[in-house]
């Protein structure tokens, strides 16, 4: 019994600290995004709260906590209340599955990749339910667009990850990183550059980011599916979106960039290379947002169904044949 309690306490500390670190990343990702886009557009970005605006995310949080929580009339109340939590849990749980270091992964399950894909599919529910429950036309259209987009790019993304699974011969994320280290290439980015390209594009679409931000297109749908949400419920959708970005980037680092390994060991900071790679991918997200205009909806569906899926299937079979020959 005492043993069990010890384990529970240990789990509580590990899970709690992982959650706090993930939340810090999410909070400062919003800050980094505003700052970097500001610089790219020759503005300063946030610079009033704290030195260089570093306390901006905390100030935003406090502001959102003290706002009025509005529930418009005509909404489907239970669904309206539940939807943000579905989004948050589905977007954030993936963090627990990512092997951050060879000795640290909170939940080392055998079907890690499948679980993350399942979670990202489920997050479509949060979007479509909030769109349907809001009793607003903008929200309904945003929710429909988002769900069609998420399921379309889900296929391309699973196919891209399938090539990685085929090379590693395992669905366990830890085994995939180890297989990469033991392979002659060290990281799967080199042989699987096409899969990486497909994965990054679909990951951007899955997170509803520019240039695929049709669900929340400000100029036509105001904010899309969460237009009727206010205060903390709105913030939870926001949190879920950035959590999704962090998890997708971490998955890209794990599956394509070799996880925790680096060219040389950094003493005392075992997570160093993982974090550096994570920040590079997150920077690409922000860079893309600052650079590209929004797609049209037919172009978006065309890219997903007519370009990415055939490319991913061809890459998969190419990988299989090459692996058998060599």
């Amino acid at each position: 019994m005492g043993d069990l309690i010890d384990k529970l306490i240990f789990l509580g500390i590990a899970a709690g600290s992982l959650l706090v670190i993930a939340l810090l990343h999410v909070a400062y990702l919003t800050y980094a995004e505003r700052k970097i886009i500001g610089r790219m557009q020759q503005r300063l970005g946030p610079n009033r709260v704290g030195p260089r605006g570093l306390l901006q995310p905390i100030a935003d949080m406090v502001k959102l906590l003290t706002k009025e929580d509005l529930v418009p009339y005509g909404v489907d109340k239970p669904v309206f209340y539940i939807a943000p939590f579905i989004s948050l849990v589905c977007a954030g749980t993936g963090v627990a599955l990512i092997p951050i270091w060879k000795k640290f992964v909170l939940s080392n399950i055998n079907v890690g990749i499948l679980f993350i894909l399942a979670l990202s599919s489920l997050s479509a529910y949060g979007v479509i339910l909030s769109g349907w429950a809001s009793n607003s036309r903008y929200a309904l259209l945003g929710g429909l667009r988002a769900s069609a987009q998420v399921i379309s790019y889900e296929i391309a993304m699973s196919l891209a990850l399938l090539s990685v699974v085929l090379m590693a011969g395992s669905l366990n994320l830890m085994d995939i990183v180890k297989a990469q280290i033991n392979s002659p290439y060290k990281i799967y980015l080199i042989p699987q550059i096409i899969a990486f390209y497909v994965f990054i594009i679909s990951a951007i679409a899955e997170c509803n980011r520019v240039p695929f931000d049709l669900p929340e297109a400000e100029t036509e749908l105001v904010a899309g599916y969460f237009v009727e949400y206010s205060a903390m419920r709105f913030a939870i959708f926001y949190l879920a979106e950035y959590f999704g970005m962090v998890v997708m980037s971490a998955l890209a680092v794990t599956c394509f960039l070799g996880g925790w390994i680096g060219p040389f060991e950094i003493p005392y900071i075992p997570f160093f290379w993982f974090l550096i790679k994570l920040y590079i991918i997150l920077f690409i997200y922000i860079w893309v947002r600052a650079t590209l205009p929004r797609y049209r909806y037919d172009q978006l569906m065309g890219l997903g169904w007519k370009v990415l899926i055939p490319v991913a299937i061809i890459n998969l079979f190419l990988t299989a044949v090459l692996k058998l020959i060599f």
Binding site: L8, L11, G169
Partner: protein
């Protein structure tokens, strides 16, 4: 303590965090009731009729095609894991399976199911 237990513990922690934040917001946030504030937002115009309007059949069609492809991919995952053992035999078997689906895919494409005008 299984790995799945850790996973669900983390999911529960996230849920608790979300509920705590909303609860804190309900305590700290002001409450100034006003009937105008509760109207669904439509750029300042009063909304007319029900917001749950009929939507395009295309969305449904995309969902049906997605279902077929998703089941296909679920079948491909076990094959990818034991690819080494199955070798050429597995590759040919799965090729037949994928080619059959590709025919359906090309048919759907030529019928205009993927077109969005």
């Amino acid at each position: 303590m299984g790995s799945y237990f850790n996973l669900f513990f983390f999911a529960l922690l996230l849920l608790v965090l979300g509920i705590l934040l909303v609860a804190l917001n309900l305590i700290l946030g002001p409450r100034r009731e006003h009937s105008e504030k509760l109207i669904p937002y439509e750029c300042g115009l009063d909304p007319s009729g029900d917001a749950r309007i009929p939507f395009r059949i295309r969305f449904y069609l995309i969902a049906v095609i997605f279902l077929v492809f998703d089941v296909e991919i679920i079948f491909l995952y076990p094959w990818a894991v034991i690819f080494e053992e199955l070798s050429w035999f597995g590759l040919i078997e799965i090729s037949v399976f994928v080619v059959m689906l590709l025919i359906a895919y090309i048919y759907a494409w030529s019928e205009g199911a993927l077109k969005w005008e």
